[in-house]
Symmetry: none
Subunit: 205 residues, 2 copies
């Protein structure tokens, strides 16, 4: 059993996204620099993860061009019972943006925006550092928290790195649904908190 290192957990994440069909055969993966920013690690750490995927035959790199998903994935040694599910893109989940690289505090977040309902949201997010300001740019002047779901999880190595806690430490996952004035959902924000250092307080008010 291999020790859980950073590059291994990154490789696992990418392998999972490949298996889920998030990248199709022949597709180009994000550049090493982009992946490094996404996971908040050095480019070499991503390279090690990619190297392990390449060794397993899942991807192959072309110098100067990029890293590509192998057309015919090699035989899965587990047999014919192994099936992978397509990632069912639920309604309006076209645009997804990760801002891991920007956050270096006691919380991690990832947001999903309905691009069909909010045209130009991606460009606005590129320009603005704040989600609120980006939403204002595309016409959503105000939004309120419609629902917050909370659950406890264990920190993955990558989460642990960014939250400055040890892997396996308890984290608090918050999934918040924000809606606009008309009640239409405008953002689905996931936030992870270091459970040992943070307390969430809910007051009726």
């Amino acid at each position: 059993m291999p020790r859980p290192t950073l590059w291994r957990s990154i490789a696992d994440t990418l392998r999972g996204e490949l298996a889920a069909g998030q990248y199709r055969p022949g597709d180009r993966l994000p550049t090493e620099a982009q992946l490094a920013a996404r996971f908040g690690v050095n480019r070499h750490t991503v390279r090690q993860a990619l190297a392990s995927l390449a060794e397993a035959g899942h991807v192959h790199a072309r110098r100067g061009a990029g890293v590509f998903v192998t057309a015919r994935p090699t035989e899965y040694p587990l047999g014919r019972r192994v099936r992978f599910h397509q990632n069912l893109a639920a309604g309006g989940q076209a645009a997804e943006r990760r801002m891991l690289s920007l956050v270096r505090r006691a919380a991690l977040y990832r947001s999903v925006f309905p691009e069909a309902r909010l045209p130009g949201i991606l460009a606005a997010l590129e320009a603005e550092a704040s989600v609120t300001r980006a939403l204002a740019r595309v016409g959503v002047a105000d939004f309120t928290r419609a629902e917050t779901r909370l659950t406890a999880k264990l920190a993955t190595p990558t989460q642990a790195l960014h939250l400055r806690i040890r892997p396996g430490a308890p984290i608090l996952r918050s999934v918040a649904l924000n809606v606009g004035p008309g009640g239409q959902p405008v953002e689905l924000g996931r936030t992870w908190f270091a459970g040992e250092r943070v307390t969430l307080t809910v007051t009726p008010d």
Copy 2:
């Protein structure tokens, strides 16, 4: 009172320099090797000092990069109803009567009642199975939830036994403060949920 050891005095020195503003939040400390040279000790002794500073949240280390001074955010303004704040291990519990009762489902709870303010509450609890009815017996006809605090923890073996999960699994701890009509606290209830099986949903209203 901790014994005065080498690493403790080194930690004290560094903590003093941090407090004096010699290193600002975000700054990188000298490398462990440099600190070891400065104090004339082995690198491991410095590491022990740094570890204690890290545990206290003053610094955090990034493998390969260095040791950095932590910037501690104090509050997370996520909305009017939801606030996150640091868990400062504020003790200060008054004389309490404890009653442990266990539910054979996915949650454990333990309540604290102010006996001085609610004479006879113990007897009422003995007689009644419901906390609400017991409170009604001692004159608290109605009470409302004034505040709920949530945090993630790891299950102790005992909790794991009752929640039917494995020790070390993530659990969600909820501390709810219930107040009577006049705003006086009548119950402090702690509940543990199996984080892997339970999701708490917070909705306005």
